[in-house]
Symmetry: C3
Subunit: 207 residues, 3 copies
């Protein structure tokens, strides 16, 4: 099992948990939980694989991520009521999923020999699109677009870290670890301490 496979498994588990938490807010049944969990778990990686023309898509060659996501969904269905604030859980689980999915995306693009722009974009896409699909399908305001919080920026910072570390001659393993670290620290710092970039402030009316 390679490091990329492991990252895909781990992202599937954590994204599935965040997806199942969103399903609990929408009060779906157990199959709905599994559907949203699987969509969130493999959505970003699927777009990555289709764009990179990796065949087969990671969960079609090996359905383990789907089985893991389904298992997590069942677990959350029976335990989510024990949790005090489910929105808080969604948001924090999502930080970990982001920090795992970004290196999974960047690593897959590197392995295929793509240049730095594509590596960064694949990291960002893998990290953000699963959660984006989850939120669009469930009619939640996309986390990706939360005002005054870092999200896509963390994915970009993480992916750029990986590119720079590889450019300085480090092997893929530590570079992806650095990518995960930078992604998580910036995202968690944004949530905990309010770190953010200046947002656009309109002056004339929006019409």
């Amino acid at each position: 099992m390679t490091i990329l496979t492991l990252l895909d498994y781990a992202a599937a588990i954590v994204f599935a948990a965040s997806g199942a938490m969103v399903a609990s807010r929408a009060q779906l049944d157990i199959v709905g939980f599994a559907f949203i969990a699987c969509l969130t778990a493999v959505g970003g990686g699927t777009v990555r694989d289709v764009l990179l023309d990796r065949n087969p898509v990671f969960w079609m060659g090996d359905p383990m991520p789907i089985l893991l996501a389904t298992g997590v969904a069942v677990l959350v269905f029976f335990t989510a009521h024990l949790v005090e604030s489910r929105l808080r859980w969604v948001v924090w689980l999502d930080t970990f999923a982001l920090a795992i999915a970004v290196p999974a995306g960047a690593g897959a693009a590197m392995e295929l020999g793509h240049g730095p722009v594509i590596v960064v974009l694949m990291g960002m896409a893998t990290g953000s699109l699963g959660g984006l699909m989850r939120d669009v399908v469930c009619n939640e305001v996309p986390l990706v677009l939360t005002q005054g919080e870092l999200y896509i920026s963390c994915a970009m910072a993480g992916a750029i870290t990986a590119v720079v570390m590889v450019w300085f001659g480090l092997p893929a393993g530590p570079a992806l670890l650095g990518c995960a670290g930078v992604t998580w620290v910036t995202r968690a710092g944004s949530l905990a301490f309010g770190w953010h970039l200046p947002v656009y402030r309109p002056r004339p009316p929006r019409s």
Copy 2:
């Protein structure tokens, strides 16, 4: 013409009718009707073909499903005002489309020799994603996520039926027929008699 082609045609017609009904609720013009009808008609099968790397995508090799969907859209544009309750029609047309699209998806995955997990997932994806795209684009609450109704569960039950029948040695034809039957009966039963799985009931506040 194979059974899969026939299923794709039939799903295109019925999904197109449901898409055109949603377009009538959004009061679009005739080209908008055709656009939403085509999106609904071929959306799920397109995702299936892209994921399964079937080339070309079914409606690119043979544009008949697009022509059928467009014809249906034109027909609905001129006749939908004759219909009493258009939402009811959307919902019931959708049951038939689901019951045709699930075997179309499961059958395509079987034909390519995929394992049971992928067969079930392709059935579910083909059945639900066209309708999901229709609802997301038209800003309707996705039918897929209706609380206290079976929807994805019917797709899953149908696809599992096909897998089990093939596993017991039955040929693909009857297995796909069984799949369609189980999908439709469970979905129609849910609409007519309120069949449902227990939904998630939160106890603490959602925050």
Copy 3:
């Protein structure tokens, strides 16, 4: 550099500007601007390339459209407050992007030898899906579905123009120019003079 590459670059720039304007309405930060700008810029063309199985997807072989879109996003971030009515700008920029993207899509399908139905559909998809993704992700009402305005119809009229001109023996260059012209004139006429097709008028209640 071929005419198709040029069209892809131009569409990327103008769609990126419209995407960044929508980001300014959502008050995102600078990375959010770049994300929405890139999604809008390459979304339609990406779907086109995945469906046509063109490998690699245009911006993966040559990341220039991404760099252009990012540059435009940065520019808009620092200048959008100078603009009086941002929604008006979104709508008008979008007319140009549509008029460039439709020939880009139709041309790509022609180059691969596809028939008229697929050429028209690829023109429509490339023209409308980037803007559709922008609006769905940013929770705006999709421009594509605006009541009583031409939008998809302009893409269809333009793409059909290209098909007809090629069928009359004209070379691809003038045909794509004609396509762009018809698309822009019909869309701009709809905005400026209220040109529209009759929309569906329900008689019984929608239920």
